[in-house]
């Protein structure tokens, strides 16, 4: 009879050795799983804090930029930025910034997408909302990483929020038909008031030009830098007049039919030989087309492009003939040309403001001029030419700025 070998006391049963293995494995793996969970949760939390900080700095940069645009005062812009930061909460507490070191003014290069704090001009502001040991907000505690020895995290925005004003390229499309003869002084004052308002903003990249039109259009002044060429532009615009009618047979008629303004386009501009005695009518579409050409060939793809059309009439042809059907068809075509030109402007992100001087209320004129508004533009109408300067100054304030970051 054989007896089964007794287990050696030095070599316990394998089942004995397995006892507690689960506890050890679970103990070890729990640490890893808990660590990964902590990383997942705290990473999401840190991203949330960064998103909050980024949102606050965006709002503050935008507010500072709007204030800078309206007031031109950097100190006021700094205070506005701080107020907007304080209006938000960061990790449950009122957010804050150092008004001197966290707000920086400079220039933004749209081509290079770079901020330059040392540039000679200001079109941009950077705001940084930080949550670090050295910042006014201090650091913040993570939720779980403290178990692994990290009790706080330095979170700050991924990059400072940069608000930048796109430079503006503006073309005034000015009606200089004979019907504007009585109000051209007010129209000129309005154009000059607009120029002054843009100049007062003191943005070095702003450019402005003017197109004049009758039945066709021509460039009156090209797109020029307002800051650099203000005096020259103002001098040219001060000579704005209604169209030139110093040709046969008006020599014999005298004023008001005869009008010598050699700096202006002739009233019969591009008329056929047979119609050379007559004014060429009113064609807003040709003015818009010329302005769009000017803006699209400016070479600056990042600017805010805007057209302001000022007119006192509806599109019309003046045949002075008995062929009324042809005249009506020509007028309808000019109206459609105006709508097509406005659509072309919109396709190219060009806003159109429309100003209708309508002293003896003409419903068709009003409807056509209102229908030309595109993008951020608005429609203005007045029977009083003295209102024109205020209207154009108002438009100067409304041409928008844009945030980049």
């Amino acid at each position: 009879m054989s007896t089964p070998p007794s287990p050696s006391p030095r070599r316990p049963d394998r089942r004995h050795r397995r006892r507690g293995n689960y506890a050890i494995l679970v103990g070890l793996s729990s640490t890893g799983i808990l660590g990964m969970g902590a990383v997942a949760v705290d990473t999401a939390y840190v991203h949330l804090v960064e998103a909050q900080a980024q949102a606050i700095s965006d709002a503050a940069a935008h507010a500072a930029l709007v204030t800078l645009k309206l007031s031109g005062d950097e100190d006021q812009a700094r205070n506005t930025a701080k107020a907007f930061v304080n209006a938000h909460k960061l990790v449950g507490k009122m957010a804050d910034i150092d008004i001197d070191s966290d707000i920086v003014f400079g220039s933004w290069d749209f081509d290079l997408q770079q901020f330059d704090a040392s540039a000679s001009y200001v079109n941009s502001v950077q705001v940084s909302v930080n949550k670090t040991d050295s910042s006014v907000n201090g650091s913040f505690n993570t939720l779980l990483m403290g178990m692994f020895g990290t009790s706080h995290q330095n979170a700050q925005t991924q990059s400072p929020a940069t608000g930048a004003m796109r430079f503006r390229e503006i073309v005034i499309v000015q009606d200089v038909t004979g019907s504007f003869a009585q109000e051209i002084d007010d129209a000129r004052d309005a154009d000059l008031a607009f120029l002054d308002a843009v100049y007062a903003d003191d943005f070095p990249g702003d450019r402005i030009g003017m197109v004049t039109f009758v039945g066709s259009a021509t460039e009156y002044t090209p797109l020029e830098y307002v800051n650099d060429d203000y005096s020259a532009i103002r001098s040219d615009w001060a000579n704005l007049d209604w169209c030139d009618r110093s040709y046969y047979p008006y020599y014999y008629y005298g004023p008001p039919y005869y009008h010598s303004a050699p700096q202006m386009m002739p009233c019969n501009y591009q008329n056929s030989y047979y119609l050379s005695y007559y004014d060429s009518g009113t064609a807003q579409g040709t003015g818009l087309d010329a302005a769009i050409d000017m803006l699209l060939s400016s070479g600056d793809d990042y600017s805010t492009k805007t057209i302001i059309i000022v007119s006192d009439g509806q599109p019309e042809c003046v045949y002075r003939s008995s062929d009324w059907a042809a005249e009506a068809a020509c007028t309808a075509a000019r109206e459609q040309d105006a709508y097509d030109a406005a659509d072309w402007a919109e396709e190219n992100n060009i806003s159109v403001f429309s100003v209708s001087f309508n002293d003896t209320y003409n419903a068709t004129q009003s409807a056509v001029m209102e229908a030309l508004v595109r993008g951020n533009g608005e429609f203005y109408e007045t029977p009083d030419p003295a209102d024109l300067p205020d209207i154009l100054e108002d438009i100067a304030e409304k041409i928008p700025i844009a945030l980049v970051q």
């Binding site: 089942r15 006892r19 949760v41």
Partner: protein
């Protein structure tokens, strides 16, 4: 007579200890995983809501107050549109009858300091129901109107 194929009662008791260990540790594992899922997703949704409100409020801040579409309407629509792609528990901020999503936009202050205050509050139903989490996701942004 050969040895019995049945394990001894002692061995059976030892096998049971594994089950007990597992049963004791399973809630811990589930708790850790639930906590990870719940709070990671909760913070993710707060970040998503924060971005939606920031971008929506920014959209409204550039709209002229005198236009046919007011800044607050534009901001409200933009925030709802931004949130509609989040797939957030089937909550549809675009649906007017879905009261689980509340977008609030108001114009405050006077010219030239008129501000647009935007906020969103959405109910946050727990994914697992095992871990206490906040029952709502909220975000807020304040922007200065560009055109006043």
């Amino acid at each position: 007579m050969g040895p019995s194929l049945q394990p001894s009662p002692r061995v059976r008791r030892r096998r049971g200890s594994n089950v007990i260990e597992f049963a004791l540790l399973l809630p811990v594992f589930i708790g850790i995983l639930s906590f990870t899922f719940e709070y990671s997703y909760y913070f993710f949704m707060r970040t998503t809501a924060m971005d939606a409100v920031r971008l929506g409020c920014r959209t409204g801040a550039v709209v002229p107050p005198t236009g046919a579409r007011t800044p607050d309407d534009a901001a409200s629509d933009a925030i709802k549109t931004n949130m509609s792609g989040s797939g957030f528990f089937g909550i549809d901020c675009m649906a007017p009858d879905d009261d689980r999503c509340e977008v609030s936009v108001s114009l405050d202050g006077d010219v030239p300091s008129q501000t647009l205050s935007c906020s969103i509050a959405m109910s946050y139903p727990s994914i697992t129901g095992l871990i206490p989490v906040p029952d709502s996701v909220e975000a807020r942004s304040v922007q200065l109107l560009e055109i006043q």
